[in-house]
């Protein structure tokens, strides 16, 4: 397919929320007035220096930013090629990149006068971040979480409870992230007047993909400055795991127009792409419409959405953000995938070589470094987004490794 290359990859979406053929606002009429109001409120907040100043203060003093850009020396030596850096989003308050976006959205909820916040969560990191910021800003918080995920992410369920949030286990469908999102949308349709829906990734109806990207882009902007300081130049390649794709978009977006920089997104291949049990929407899906946007989705020939499968609850979603779909078609982001097994091996390697226990989500990106890094020259600067810490995954990793960590 020949796709005309744009002058800039960073100007999207258009005023209707489209990234090329992707994105849009495919929602029930009940929600449309709210979505339009949110779009206006976000535009006003973005242009308000006081909002930015307040956010910068919280990012520094509450979230703990900037997060370090860490030279992974032993991993670099282990692979014997590219010089590997980790962007340490795992060191943020609440333990993942999710908080960058949630801070912005909860400040917006407060500004819009919405006293009640709902969120969907897979691994629980977005739920924890939302519960955290709702506690800080004094808002009610209800988190929808698939019943299967409630089972495999108990520590995060307990954290949300401790933070005063109500966690609602979702029993419909496959009882994972997609169903949690359906249930959150149903709540929103019902309680539209007083409720703010805090979406955790760069997906959903416009303006969410754009807004979440903007809030997460601090990852890439910091990386830019930090790499210039450390090496005197920009990185040569970027790599991040992708479920919905918010940590990846946050790192990638500020670099999209430096076309010499290689950009890799890593999807979850579960039991393998050929097994049919995976969560790789780009590799194994095709464009369709779900949860308010058009993007690549896992589905059958009748347009029925299929269940995603991944060891990582945070990647267990049958879709991907629409901007990723667009950048895939344009060839700007190269999509790879890593299996559950590869992710587990990366989990062990990173823990033992660097003394960093990574979340299973970024382990998918770490797994591909094993293939990419050795082929690169020693002066090649590669940045991996270490998007979250792995404490929450210890029980499920132990289970997969036969009880032994």
């Amino acid at each position: 397919m020949t796709v005309q290359q744009p002058n800039s990859f960073r100007t999207g979406p258009d005023e209707r929320g489209h990234f090329g053929n992707y994105g849009g606002r495919f929602v029930a009429e009940t929600l449309m007035p709210n979505i339009l109001a949110l779009e206006q409120a976000y535009a006003a907040a973005k242009a308000d220096p006081a909002f930015q100043r307040e956010m910068d203060g919280h990012l520094k003093n509450y979230v703990g930013r900037p997060s370090p850009l860490y030279f992974a020396e032993r991993m670099t030596a282990h692979f014997g090629g590219a010089k590997i850096y980790f962007k340490r989003e795992d060191l943020n308050h609440t333990g993942a990149h999710k908080v960058n976006n949630v801070l912005g959205q909860i400040m917006l909820a407060k500004r819009m006068g919405k006293p009640r916040v709902i969120a969907e969560t897979g691994a629980g990191m977005h739920g924890v971040a939302t519960a955290t910021l709702c506690a800080k800003f004094g808002l009610d918080c209800i988190v929808y979480m698939g019943a299967v995920d409630v089972g495999r992410q108990q520590p995060n369920v307990q954290r949300m409870h401790a933070l005063g949030a109500k966690v609602v286990p979702v029993e419909s469908g496959a009882r994972t992230l997609k169903d949690a999102m359906n249930e959150a949308l149903r709540d929103w349709v019902t309680n539209v007047a007083d409720t703010f829906y805090c979406i955790g990734t760069v997906a959903g109806p416009h303006p969410y993909p754009m807004m979440v990207r903007d809030f997460q882009s601090i990852i890439g902007f910091e990386t830019r400055e930090q790499m210039l300081e450390a090496e005197g130049r920009l990185p040569d390649s970027l790599i991040a795991c992708i479920g919905g794709g918010s940590n990846a978009m946050g790192l990638f977006h500020p670099f999209l127009d430096e076309r010499q920089i290689e950009i890799y997104g890593v999807e979850a291949a579960g039991h393998g792409l050929k097994s049919g049990k995976h969560a790789a929407s780009i590799a194994g899906g095709r464009p369709g419409v779900l949860h308010g946007n058009r993007t690549y989705l896992l589905m059958n020939s009748d347009g029925q959405i299929e269940e995603a499968h991944s060891i990582s609850a945070g990647l267990d979603y049958p879709g991907i953000g629409p901007e990723h779909a667009w950048l895939n078609d344009l060839g700007r982001i190269k999509f790879l995938s890593a299996t559950d097994k590869e992710a587990l091996a990366a989990f062990q390697l990173c823990s033992r070589l660097e003394g960093i226990i990574p979340a299973l989500e970024p382990c998918h990106a770490l797994a591909k470094i094993a293939q990419l890094a050795p082929k690169k020259p020693k002066d090649h600067l590669m940045v991996l987004n270490l998007s979250g810490r792995g404490d929450k995954d210890l029980a499920s990793v132990a289970e997969h490794l036969g009880g032994k960590l």
């Binding site: 849009g24 029930a28 009429e29 009940t30 449309m32 999102m181 149903r186 779900l290 989705l297 347009g303």
Partner: protein, 278 residues
Amino acid sequence: MTTRIDTRFADLKREGRAGLVTFIMAGDPDPKTSLAIVKALPKAGADVIEIGMPFTDPMADGPAIQAAGLRALNAGQDMKKTLDLVRAFRKDDAATPIVLMGYYNPIYIYGVPRFLKDAKSVGVDGLIIVDLPPEEDDELCLPALKAGLNFIRLATPTTDDKRLPAVLANTSGFVYYVSITGITGAAAPDAAKVGPAVARIKRHTKLPVAVGFGVRTAQQVRALAAGAEAVVVGSALVSVVKDSLDKTGKATAKTVKAVAGLVSELATGVRGGKRGPK
């Protein structure tokens, strides 16, 4: 262009009563029983039939319709079978309007031009697509109108006067007023609030207005029918389907009768005397 929907609402106006719109899920609990149910509806008192196109992720539907969709999908329903159902119904009934209702993705994947051509040819009259607001009219609404199908839009309590003109602009057949902010089958609507809301819509359009969401009893139908051209019942009917199934989820001798029975009862709400809007 006059469609079966236009004709039916003109007839209802002449009769001086409101219409009963019944929703049933295509292929629930199986294709054969589903056809028998749809065939039984007009005789039982349904004036317009909405047929749900099942979807795995019905984000505006409550538990009853979610479950109905899953029963249908598990029994092998797909878009082709849903269109076959309409074709089979049309063999004996050339007058009752059929509206397909559902979500966009199964249509998008079937292919919009192919879907419109096939829907028209089997005898579909209108479409209600929950996740296609006016902002996305280029996708299906405008092509559907061009193909001679009605595109029926949902207006909700959150659709204010500023937004109503946009919602009504490309709407045809009738306007579906969602009487609550919520999902299908949720809280019952408050007839006292619905009246003024329907009157507000009528200030913006000459189209008939059907009121739905949360309607379960003939009494509710009667109360809502006083101020609207039609009342829609859905979750209550698919719940009756569910309750009639055996332990393994298969249809029983009671299934079709139970649905027809409830429709007859609900129909008294629109037929017991002249209660249509003035």
